[in-house]
């Protein structure tokens, strides 16, 4: 039986190779699932109303994400831009029914008090009629971003919030996509 053991040993060596080839063929059959793959940038959509005649307010999605809403001001193109203090006041009034229906909410207390906005050397100081230290981060960002967009400075402006209990450190809005905007 000695001569037969040599081919048998060779067979034993070849079997794994065959199994590997078969496995390579079989595991790849059909369409396999995949992980999440990034593919290109976002889609830039047209948002209404257009740029000059709108207020950009930031509310919170049900998951607490900062979500912009656009509100028309006037149809008159020559009307002067709405003052930042007024925009912040509108923000503090909370979402309108349609916005609430879409699941948007606010992290800010509703207050009828006056809002004061002072701008000096690139820093915008907003004095609010309620304490600011206990505000949540996304609530702070609601005001910061709303004010920055109202000023037309977007991410560039450093904004300081002041309330009855003191001031917060300067903050910027963030989250804009300059590359995307310039490419479109």
């Amino acid at each position: 039986m000695r001569p037969r053991s040599a081919p048998a040993a060779a067979g034993r060596r070849f079997v794994p190779a065959l199994v590997c080839a078969a496995a390579a063929l079989l595991t790849g059959c059909g369409v396999p699932g995949s992980g999440v793959v990034e593919a290109g940038g976002p889609a830039t959509v047209e948002a209404f109303p257009g740029t000059p005649n709108r207020l950009t307010l930031f509310f919170l999605s049900p998951e607490g994400r900062l979500t912009p809403v656009l509100r028309a001001t006037r149809d008159d193109a020559q009307a002067p831009p709405v003052a930042t203090a007024q925009v912040v006041t509108v923000l503090l009034d909370g979402p309108e029914p349609q916005e609430s229906k879409a699941g948007l909410g606010t992290g800010l207390p509703s207050s009828a008090g006056p809002v004061d906005v002072a701008s000096s050397r690139g820093t915008i100081r907003i004095t609010l009629p309620f304490p600011v230290r206990r505000l949540k981060d996304n609530a702070v960002r609601q005001i910061v971003c709303t004010a920055a967009y109202a000023e037309g400075r977007e991410d560039a402006a450093a904004i300081v919030l002041a309330g009855g209990d003191g001031t917060l450190p300067p903050a910027r809005c963030g989250g804009a996509l300059p590359g995307t905007a310039s490419s479109r």
Partner: protein, 489 residues
């Protein structure tokens, strides 16, 4: 049987090795090609779908927050324009869930995809296997232009597309790969068999040549073709055969020289012996008149000279056989008559000494002189070493190889032959009784019997009879072979 199995073994091993190599290479090629082609198909579909989806999504104009009904219209529009196939499009904004289909929420879109789409404003896709059906799910977050930059709207569009067609294509590719590999294996069988043949044919030639060498055809050579290992082997074989042929030729020459020497010596002794015999005859006659001592010496010389003459005659006879110079002068004779004449010539006529059983009517073609020598030597040997009475039986023998035969059986009444001696009693100068180095015979009698019987195409066998005593049986064909025919027993 073993040789046959080994040859099949080598062939099938070669073929198997070829097929294995073909299978592995075909399989590997097919697997790699298949994988690359599949990836290419999927990549193409994905890229088309994702970029088309992004383009479609970019045509959307919406208020923020959007109106559910209007959004649904937009989604249906996108779904219709889906490439390469219609999609089901879903939109998520805040708590709004709108789709182009019946269900506002997809069951295929995974939480990972949703999380990735919300985390960074980039298009993402994922292939999902849902209940055996592959789906391509895509997510494109939307951004809108602000004064200086762009900002995510919070609206994420999802599209879901079945990949069943692609899966069918890929499976078809797999089938094609399999259908291509099997004929490739069959095609590989052809070179495998050719290669096996090219290896096995020299091996077969070698085997045939070795067999011919074994049969004694020492001039057998193998044609050496090419310069591979098999050619080396053939070359070595030829070299070995040449050396063997040289050695055998040398041995044969030496043997011929030795035989010729023996023959020459015998012939040279013959003439002086003839003279000596004449002289001893005269001396024998005159011995009675000599002194007793001298007479005894003269008789001893006379007897020994006679023995020497017999020995020389036997030597000459056997050297003729060795030189293949022995001729068969065949004649048709009555065997019983020939035997009777032999006995009469030797004066073995006393029935108490030699008992005959010679049925008439057996006629054979044989050389009467040689047959006479055979019978005389057998009977003389039996009388000398066995003992009277010697029984001679002639009988018909069943034919062997289609030739009718007869047998002559010579049985003595002696003690028989020892079993260890039996195979040797036809050898030259073989003494059955080691103690008796001198005997009346030359020591060549039975050897000459064997050569003569062989010359007739017959056989001679020695055995012991059932009641003791040696039995030597000569079997010969009724018709002798052709003069130069086979002499082998």
């Amino acid at each position: 049987m073993i040789r046959w199995r080994a040859r099949i073994g080598l062939r099938s091993r070669l073929v198997l090795a070829f097929l294995l190599v073909a299978a592995v290479s075909a399989g590997t090629t097919a697997a790699l090609t298949y994988r690359e082609a599949r990836n290419a198909i999927l990549e193409q579909v994905q890229n088309t779908a994702v970029s088309s989806f992004r383009e479609q999504a970019a045509t959307v104009g919406t208020t923020l927050p959007m109106d559910g009904a209007a959004l649904q219209e937009v989604l249906r529009d996108i779904a219709r324009k889906g490439k390469p196939r219609t999609w089901v499009v879903f939109a998520e904004y805040g708590s709004m869930r709108v789709s182009s289909g019946t269900s506002p929420v997809s069951t295929v879109i995974t939480p990972e995809l949703r999380r990735a789409a919300l985390a960074s404003p980039r298009g993402v896709f994922q292939r999902v296997d849902k209940d055996g059906t592959p789906w391509l799910t895509m997510a494109v977050p939307t951004v809108f232009k602000t004064g200086l930059s762009a900002r995510p709207t919070g609206l994420v569009l999802y599209a879901v597309m079945p990949l069943a067609t692609e899966e069918d294509d890929i499976r078809a590719m797999l089938t094609a790969a399999r259908d291509g590999a099997l004929p490739a294996l069959l095609v590989a069988l052809v070179p495998a068999l050719l290669a096996a043949r090219s290896v096995l044919r020299p091996v077969r030639d070698l085997r045939t040549a070795a067999q011919r060498i074994g049969r004694g055809e020492l001039d057998t050579r193998i044609p050496v073709k090419g310069s591979d290992e098999l050619a080396d082997l053939a070359y070595t074989f030829n070299d070995t055969a040449l050396q063997l042929e040289r050695s055998v030729t040398e041995l044969r020459r030496a043997e011929v020289r030795a035989r010729r020497f023996a023959s020459d010596v015998s012939h040279e002794l013959r003439t002086p012996l003839a003279g000596m015999l004449a002289v001893t005859d005269v001396l024998d006659e005159d011995a009675e008149r000599l002194a007793p001592d001298t007479a005894a010496a003269v008789r001893l010389i006379s007897a020994e000279t006679g023995k020497l003459a017999v020995l020389v005659e036997d030597l000459i006879e056997i050297s003729r056989f060795d030189a293949k110079a022995a001729e068969l002068n065949a004649d048709e004779v009555d065997v019983a008559e020939t035997i009777r004449r032999t006995l009469a010539t030797r004066r073995w006529t006393d029935p108490a000494q030699v008992a005959c059983e010679l049925p008439p009517g057996i006629r054979a073609r044989l050389d009467p002189r040689r047959f006479d020598v055979v019978v005389a030597n057998l009977v003389g040997n039996a009388l000398r070493h066995g003992g009277a009475p010697v029984r001679i039986r002639l009988r018909d023998e069943p034919p062997d190889g289609g030739r009718a035969r007869f047998a002559v059986e010579v049985a003595d009444s002696g003690p028989g032959i020892a079993p260890d001696v039996l195979p040797h009693i036809f050898d030259r100068f073989y003494k059955a009784d080691a103690a008796r180095t001198r005997s009346a015979g030359s020591g060549l009698g039975l050897a000459i019997v064997r050569e003569n019987v062989r010359l007739h195409g017959g056989t001679v066998r020695a055995a012991n009879g059932p009641h003791g005593g040696a039995v030597l049986t000569v079997r010969m064909p009724l018709a002798t072979p052709r003069p130069d025919g086979e002499a082998a027993p």
